[in-house]
Every structure is written in structure tokens, then in C-alpha cells.
């Protein structure tokens, strides 16, 4: 039997604040108003066309929005925001929709403001080493624009091919090379934002420290809850003279973990230090054909950069440290193509897990590197208890774990177990003196775990900050804070 258009036939809905009935009732009027302020192709309101917008990189959670708008200019964003503010309509900002924590998950009564059409590079200043781009430029797009002149943009999340800079700022994204270059916050100079009321503000500038409060610091990692970011100014850096990656294969996760700790505590800071376990190695090799060691239980990708003498010296020291951990093999990349393939495998790692499992939850916790071996052992044990496979891929150098829990979304029981397993892993991170999120943000995925990390007073203080920016709690309100707390806030304002 054919089902009627737009009928919701999937069941995995996450709990959401109660949609506002009066907004749902005025849907047609609201859509007509958007059509009046935006180009025709920029408003999506038909149920069938809304479906692909119901989810992001965390596809286990889904909710079609009230409408999607795709503005092309800051002025159009401001017009949308002014209208939504006046009418009390919730707004969910969206970049490329690659969030692994459900940061762009819509709400039934919310309009999704997608910034993908805003994909222009606005200005590149090589003398002052900064670039100003629209929020919908991809992370790699910035490097692509400047590498011809020997520059690059440093933070490199695995999804850098697709993820957009506005989202990077909102999630304070990191990446493999953050060990040396820092995360988004350390590479950000200025922002153009549209406030909840629809005002356009410029924050920061083209230099590292701006006068007054550190607004940039406040907005970075604010998960679309304080403002809509439309333009970003970032630092661009001179590309290193050269870089070389090395693969080291080990007999167990614990041994590889111990080797990471030895490297870091020796004082060496490689430009990247990445960990992959057996399932990850196999899935990624299948995709990238990078010559990963298929006989290993765990592998480290270690990259150094500098002049070729500097590289040689560092690699020799790192080799010596690896030798102490009974490696199965060690291999230094011999060409630019080989290094490219090595990184292609690592950067495609999450997607590559799709080759061995229909679904996964990608966790994102941080622990002190000294606890790595213990944490990896405990994750393995938990996996046995839950009867679920887990692949470990992560930025080992800064203790940012990404255990990928494999499950089958067509089996509700398997999904429930995966969620529980994920929560246990994150609690373990906090217990070990680490934290709930490294670079993916809290989103919806981890909002109910926030009380594990923060005291009630600490959470309340954060909510006050949100209220200062967004008194009516209209901006991405279903994220970051435990649902009960968000709903209470939203209710209090009416």
C-alpha cells in the first residue's frame, strides 16, 4: 500500500521540547512570509522535500522541521531572524549537516537556516595572514584558496572536505593536526554574527586579541545557541617546509596506548598522532589502499614536519621510542602520494566503518593520555558486556577518543544498547579526569550527560549566558542542556 506523502514512517525520534501548537497552526503564513523575503529556490516547505533535512551526521535521530530557508546574504539571514524573533519561531542553524552529535537536528516547530549557499571567499590578506570567508565555505575550501601561495588553514577535522567553517566555529572543531596548531578557537580572529533579534554584529577583527570581553571565546563552541554566524575571519599559516607520516603497528590496543603516552611524555610534539585499532585499520585500508598493516591489533599514524633534517631527527627519536613497545612493524611514507593515501584512510575512517556495519555512533570524549591503556581496556570489556563491536579511531596525542560503536539501526534493541554503551564510555572519560566532548560538541547526543560533568550551579550559569543572548530561547534550544532544563527555560519566557 502506498503511504501518503510526508507521513512519518520512522520511529526513532529523540525527545524534543513540546512543539508550539500556535506556530504549527500558522505554518502556511510563516512560509509565505519567508517566500516574500527570499529568492524562490531558497524556501523549502513541501513535506517530501523537508525529509532530507530531518537529520545530520547522526542519522539515528530525526525530525523534519517546519521549513528550511537557504539565505544567500547576511541581510537575508537578518531578515529571517528578525521575523522569527517577532513571531516567536525557533531557529536551527545548519552548515553542511555533518555533525556527529546532532547539532543540526531540527524541531517540528523550528525553521532550519541553512548557510550552504553562503560559500564565497570574501578576502584573503597574505600580508596580515588572514582570510575572511562566508560561513558556508568548507574547511578545506579555505586551504584550497590559499595553498597556491604556500599557506594553509590549520584545524583539520576528519570531515574537512565537507564540513563548513561556520559549523567549525560553533563546535570549536579540532582535527588530527591540532596537537601542534590548536583547535578552531586558536585560529579564529573575527566573526560576523546575526543575533537572535536580527541585529548584525562584527566581533573581533583581524588580529589576535580584541578589546573588551573575549566574545570570540564565548561564541566559539556555542553550538548555534547564541547567534547565527555568517562570516568568519581566520588565521592562515605558512605551509611547513615538508611533512612525513610514519605508521607503527602494535600487538594490542594497550601497547599502542602506552606508546602514545611515552611519545608525549618524552616532550616530542609530533604534528599529528593518530590511533586506529584492528577493525578501523581494515575498513580504512579497504577504502584508501594506503598500505596499513593488516596484521596489527593497533596502529599509530605519527606525522612530523619541518626541514628534511628536522624530520629525520624527530622520526629517529620516535622510532626509538616505538622500539621499546615491541612493534610488529614500522614504516615511513616515501612519497607525497603515500602520505596522501595514509591521511585519506584516516580522514575517511568514520564513513569507512559503513563498510563493516550499517550504523555507528561516534563517541567523542577526552581523557588524560596517561590513562589511555586503561580506558582502551575498559572500553573493550564494556563492548563484550553489551555484545557490540567497537572500532577505535582517535587523536591520541591530545587524548581525544572516538570510539565508534557499531549497531544495526533496523533493530531497536541494538540501537538502545549502543546508546547506553556510548553513555557509559563518556562517563568513564569523566571518571578518568577527562571530559564529555573533545570536538564534536554536546548537541542532542550528550545533553543528558551534562550533569555528569557539571554541577547544577555551573549549568545554571551557562544557561544564564544563553538567556543573555537569546532571552526567548529560540536559537537551537533543544541541544547542549538536559532536555528538562531547556524546556523549563523555554517555558519560563512565555
Amino acid at each position: 500500500m502506498p503511504r501518503p506523502a510526508g507521513e512519518i514512517i520512522l520511529t526513532n525520534m529523540i525527545n524534543q521540547p513540546e512543539p508550539k501548537a500556535e506556530i504549527l497552526a500558522r505554518r502556511d503564513t510563516i512560509v509565505a512570509a519567508f517566500r516574500g523575503m527570499l529568492p524562490p529556490e531558497a524556501v523549502i516547505a513541501e513535506p517530501i522535500r523537508l525529509r532530507p533535512y530531518e537529520t545530520d551526521g547522526l542519522s539515528a535521530y530525526r525530525q523534519p522541521p517546519l521549513a528550511v530557508v537557504l539565505p544567500e546574504t547576511t541581510e537575508q539571514v537578518a531578515a529571517v531572524m528578525r521575523y522569527c524573533h517577532a513571531e516567536g519561531i525557533r531557529v536551527v542553524p545548519r552548515g553542511a549537516g555533518t555533525s556527529l552529535s546532532g547539532g543540526a537536528l531540527p524541531m517540528a516547530d523550528a525553521v532550519v537556516v541553512g548557510l550552504m549557499k553562503m560559500n564565497r571567499i570574501l578576502d584573503i590578506d597574505y600580508a596580515d595572514r588572514c582570510a575572511t570567508v562566508q560561513a558556508g565555505v568548507t574547511n578545506i575550501g579555505i586551504t584550497d584558496a590559499v595553498q597556491g601561495r604556500g599557506f594553509f588553514y590549520a584545524p583539520d577535522p576528519s570531515s574537512q572536505l565537507a564540513c563548513m567553517i561556520g559549523g567549525n566555529v560553533n563546535m570549536n572543531s579540532g582535527g588530527a593536526h591540532c596537537l601542534k596548531y590548536g583547535v578552531t578557537a586558536n585560529n579564529l580572529l573575527g566573526l560576523k554574527i546575526v543575533t537572535a533579534e536580527g541585529d548584525v554584529l562584527n566581533i573581533g577583527g583581524r588580529h589576535l586579541d580584541a578589546a573588551g570581553y573575549d566574545w570570540l571565546g564565548l561564541l566559539t563552541g556555542s553550538e548555534g545557541q547564541l547567534a547565527v554566524i555568517t562570516e568568519v575571519t581566520v588565521r592562515i599559516l605558512r605551509s611547513p617546509e615538508g611533512a612525513r607520516a610514519m605508521l607503527a603497528a602494535f600487538r594490542s590496543n594497550e601497547i599502542a596506548g602506552a606508546c602514545v603516552d611515552s611519545i608525549i611524555s618524552s616532550g616530542i610534539i609530533p604534528v599529528a598522532l593518530e590511533f586506529m585499532d584492528r577493525p578501523a585499520i581494515h575498513a580504512c585500508e579497504d577504502f584508501a589502499h594506503a598500505g596499513y598493516p593488516l596484521d596489527a591489533e593497533a596502529m599509530l599514524i605519527i606525522e612530523v614536519e619541518g626541514s628534511s633534517e628536522e624530520q629525520d631527527a624527530l622520526l629517529a627519536r620516535i622510532r626509538a621510542i616505538c622500539e621499546q613497545h615491541d612493534p610488529i612493524s614500522m614504516k615511513v611514507s616515501q612519497s607525497a602520494e603515500e602520505s596522501l593515501a595514509i591521511w585519506k584512510g584516516r580522514k575517511g575512517a568514520f564513513g569507512a566503518i559503513g563498510r563493516i556495519s550499517p550504523d555507528y555512533l561516534c563517541m567523542d570524549g577526552v581523557i588524560p593520555t596517561s590513562r589511555l591503556p586503561e580506558v582502551l581496556r575498559r572500553i573493550g570489556e564494556m563492548g563484550d558486556v553489551y555484545g557490540l563491536k567497537v572500532a577505535n579511531i582517535f587523536h591520541a596525542g591530545d587524548g581525544n577518543l572516538h570510539p565508534l560503536i557499531m549497531f544495526d539501526a533496523n533493530d531497536p534493541e541494538s540501537f538502545r544498547k549502543a546508546e547506553q554503551f556510548g553513555a557509559d564510555i563518556l562517563k568513564l572519560c569523566v571518571e578518568m579526569g577527562g571530559c564529555l566532548t573533545g570536538e564534536h560538541g554536546v548537541g542532542v547526543e550528550k545533553r543528558d550527560l551534562m550533569p555528569v560533568q557539571f554541577k547544577a550551579e555551573e549549568l545554571e550559569q551557562q544557561r544564564r549566558i544563553k538567556t543573555a543572548f537569546d532571552p526567548d530561547w529560540l536559537l537551537n534550544p533543544n541541544k547542549v542542556f538536559p532536555l528538562a532544563a531547556s524546556s523549563e527555560r523555554s517555558a519560563r519566557t512565555h
Binding site: 500500500m1 502506498p2 503511504r3 506523502a5 507521513e7 514512517i9 520512522l10 526513532n12 529556490e41 523549502i44 513541501e46 517530501i48 522535500r49 525529509r51 532530507p52 533535512y53 537529520t55 545530520d56 551526521g57 542519522s59 539515528a60 537557504l70 553542511a96 549537516g97 555533518t98 541553512g114 550552504m116 549557499k117 553562503m118 560559500n119 558556508g136 568548507t138 578545506i140 570531515s159 572536505l161 565537507a162 564540513c163 580504512c284 579497504d286 577504502f287 575517511g348 575512517a349 568514520f350 564513513g351 569507512a352 566503518i353 559503513g354 563498510r355 550499517p358 550504523d359 555507528y360 539501526a409 533496523n410
Partner: protein, 434 residues
Amino acid sequence: MQTNFTAEQLRDPETSAANQVLRTCVHCGLCTATCPTFLLLGDELDSPRGRIYLIKDMLEAQRPATEDVVRHIDRCLSCLACMTTCPSGVNYMHLVDHARTYIERTYRRPWHERALRAGLGTVLPRPWLFRLTLLGARLIRPMTGLLPRGGMLGERVRAMLELTPTRLPHSNSANTQQVYRAQGARRARIALLTGCAQQVLAPEINQATIRLLTRLGVEVVVAPGAGCCGALTHHMGQHDAAMTSARANIAAWSDQLKEEGLDAVVVNASGCGTMVKDYGFMFRTEPEPWRSNAEQISALACDVSELLSRLNYEPTRAPPGLTVAYHSACSLQHGQRITAEPKALLQRAGFTVVEPAEPHICCGSAGTYNILQPALASRLRKRKLDNLRATTPDLVAAGNIGCITQLSGGGLPVVHTVELLDWMAGGPVPEAMA
């Protein structure tokens, strides 16, 4: 990714194959980054992930296709850049092919759309008819200026007329004769797909291929009964017409295989190559011997550049001192994952080879796309030509007739890779350069 099909739905082999593809997609979104239509339009619905989702929703609900789905699927170039990018190995090609057939079965397009598609599906695969049509088009070409600007219909007719070549080569015997003997000792025997549109638009490509291969000791067979590969109709969702074309080829080549043996089925239009390599999948549920024969033909299929790499091609002329911008046809780089061979061959032939920025982005030709979606196609053409010109080459080489037609007339000579290789091995100067 979760799917929601009933057990009954999954009993249908087509639906079950689609489900397999959907289950492999983890909705990571990486593919959006290299999709030409997402780059131009910035809408998830015009990205691979968005299309996958639209298709999933349509198939799950068993809903007849509607205009708001068809619009976004029609805009897909089938360039398959998304498949190269996808880390999970999602076979988008099989999914979108199925969706196109599903659309043709369940959706009634406006009359002019139906007429155009039926017309293209009838004319292009038949060389004699296509020739006749082009002769007619040349007569009315001077009147292009009279067409109304704007409206879809006018733009399409304009696009078609602009694609008609100013010069129409004579039909040539290379496309009809049957066996071309190897020079010297025979090293291999191959069947050459002479194609449909290509032999009308540029018969010199087949001539160059035959000259080059026979010189290298290959016996080239143009099998009687083989013709259009079926890709043109396949991409318009005209499933039955595509199967008929494919069946004729499989029969013709299987006969050759049985009688005197074949070492390869060689294709010099990469759009067709991708198709022939997929015959095995297309015939997977057909009765024997079709199923095994199709599989065998797909396994034998190779692009002419693959064969030439195996045969140790060597030039005989001195290096010409020319810089060639190599344009990677999507069907070659994404459809067949052939990227290094053509460039290496051109270098071996003595050319300086450069590559434009954004080599992975489609030029907008994409089979009949430049006729069906003229606005997007011409934006992609301009983008590609700008990138090619920026490399300041003497000429452009590509391995697919679609791209060659699309990029010609942009100020740079555009030739088939094989014509250059043939030239440097003793053949004539490629016509487009003369």
C-alpha cells in the same frame, strides 16, 4: 543508515538491491563536497546525500514519483564524483539508476518533456538517424537567434542547436567494416565498441584507435550486430530500450568470443565503458545464458587507455613540444576509476601534461544532460573551460566524446587522447588541430 522496508517489499530484487545500497550509507555527508550540483546550488536536495534520502523516502513509501523528487534527481549528472568520495563504498550509481527507472514507470512528465526524451532516446542510438537529424539541424542553426530567451523549451532547443557541429564528417567505413588485421605478429584480438553518437560526430576517433591498435599487433573486430551501449537511454530511465541495446552487444561479442576468442572488449568512449562494465549487474536477474554472458563481457571490457598501458605503447615521432591539459572524463575517473593511465600515456608520447584545478568536477556534458539541463550544464562548462584555460595549454585531451563535444568551441582544440597517441606513433595530425 536505517531503512524501513517491509519483508514483502524486500522480496522484489530491485528494492532489495536499493536497500543494500541505502544500508551502506552512513549519512556522513562527505560526498556533498564534491557534487557539482551542490557546489552550484547549495541545497542538500541537490547533493548526493539529499538525493539518496529522497530516493529512500520514495521507495519506502512506495509512492509514485512526484515533481518535487523528480526535479532533484533530474539535476543529477550521474558523474559519480560522490562514489569516488564516499568512504563507505555506497553504490550511488545503482541506486540512482533504479530511481530513474522507477520515475519513468510512475511519473508522467509534461508532454514536451516526454517528446524530447523519447526523441533523444530514438535518435541518438541510431547513427543513420542521428546523422539525418544533424543535417536538418544545420539548416536551421542560423535561426537560433530567433528562439525566445528564458523558457525551458526555448533554452533546450538553443542548447541542442549550439551542440550541433559546424562541420559534419562523412560517414566512414571504419565503423562498418568487420576485421582489421594486426600488423606483424598478432598479440591480441579485441572487439571494438564503435558506439553510436561518436561515430557520427567524430569518426576519426575510431579510425585512430584502429590504426594505433593494429600497429601494436592487435586484431580489431567490429562485431556485426553491436551498436549503442545503451547508456543514453539508461540514464533517462528508459530501462527496456537500454536492455535491448545491451542485449544486442552481449550477443554480438559473445559470438565472437565463442568463435575466434577475444582478449578484450575495448571502449574508447568512457561513458560507454562504464555502462559495458556494468552489464553484469544489469543482467544479474536475467535467465541464462544472458546472466553469465553479460558477466563475461563486463569482465572483458576495458578502456582503450587500459589496453594501451598493457601493450607498452611507444611513440615514433619526436616530442611535439606541446602542452596538453588533460580533462578527466567523469565516466573514466569516477565511473571506472582510471586516472593515471591516460596521463602517463600522453607523457610517454612526448607531451607535457598539465591538469586543471578541480579536476574531479564534471564539465556538464553527462550524456544528454547538456540538452535536458542546459542552464546547469552551461555553468559547469564555463567553470571547466576557465580552469582549463588557466593552465595555458596548447590543447585539451579527453577520453570521452561527450566531454569533447561539450568543451569544443571554447577557444582550445579538444581531441581524444587516442588521436594524440596515434599521431605520435605515425598517424595523421588530429583533425581538430589541423
